[in-house]
């Protein structure tokens, strides 16, 4: 089993990686720290899993070297599960990347990282509803303190592929309910 950690630069992917694997990768509060990718092994659901900390990228259409590396890694691991790490204070643009990856038919789990910052900034996110709409597991995390990480690890095995057409219908139906 291969797990790719993907997300924008500076959303705490490396911190999530450290927490999941117990490794010592350093992270910084500025974009583009992870230029080389890092991989490590851990046990997820009793099975050994390779986890790759993919360089930060805004989109699956690369704009610079780090993003190119990220896309090469994604293409090389067609059977991987993707943990999309989102900044909980900037959900929309995080979802843009997550959707792109889901459209490419990868099974996805979403980590809403920096959840504590979102709380501080008065941003509330209905996690259950989001999970329901997207059809993939959504887990709030605070990687820097470790909160939510074990939950995330448990949910990785529940990652699922989505049917984009059904997703589209679910979203359109939301409008009708309101």
């Amino acid at each position: 089993m291969t797990i790719l950690l993907m997300g924008h630069p500076n959303v705490g992917k490396s911190a999530v990686f450290n927490r999941l694997t117990g490794a010592n990768i350093t992270e910084s509060n500025y974009p583009g720290t992870t230029v080389d990718f890092t991989e490590s092994y851990t046990f997820i659901g009793g099975k050994e899993a390779k986890i790759i900390d993919v360089p930060g990228t805004f989109s699956t259409e690369p704009k610079d070297e780090a993003e190119k590396v990220a896309m090469e890694i994604l293409k090389e691991h067609e059977d991987a599960i993707v943990v999309a790490v989102l900044d909980a204070t900037k959900v929309e643009r995080g979802l843009y990347l997550a959707l792109e990856i889901m459209e490419k038919n990868y099974p996805v789990v979403i980590a809403l990282n920096m959840w504590d910052d979102a709380v501080k900034q008065n941003i509330s996110i209905d996690v259950d509803r989001l999970e329901e709409i997207l059809g993939v597991p959504v887990v709030p995390t605070v990687a820097i303190s470790g909160e939510g990480i074990s939950n995330l690890a448990n949910k990785i095995t529940e990652a699922s592929r989505i049917d984009a057409e059904k997703l589209e219908k679910r979203i359109e139906n939301l409008q009708n309910e309101i």
């Binding site: 989109s59 900037k90 929309e92 643009r93 843009y96």
Partner: protein
Amino acid sequence: MTKTSTRKLPELEYGEEGLIKKIERDLRNQLVARGIREGKKIRMDTKQPINGPVVVTIGRSTTSLGLNLANKIVVEVTHDDSSDGSS
């Protein structure tokens, strides 16, 4: 009474807000994944001197753009007619 005017992004004053009206095509592709797109509210935070970059906030994210990039963004500003008629 309110009236609207369209301006290039760097022509916004400090702290002024507007709606993104148009982004030139080549730049639009680069910005779209960052959530900078037409119809979004944008606020001018600072402009650096001597043709330096601008810093803008869209939603909860702050981004810095070089001046020539910023010039490719057209913003629609709505302002109160009673307080300030000039542009």
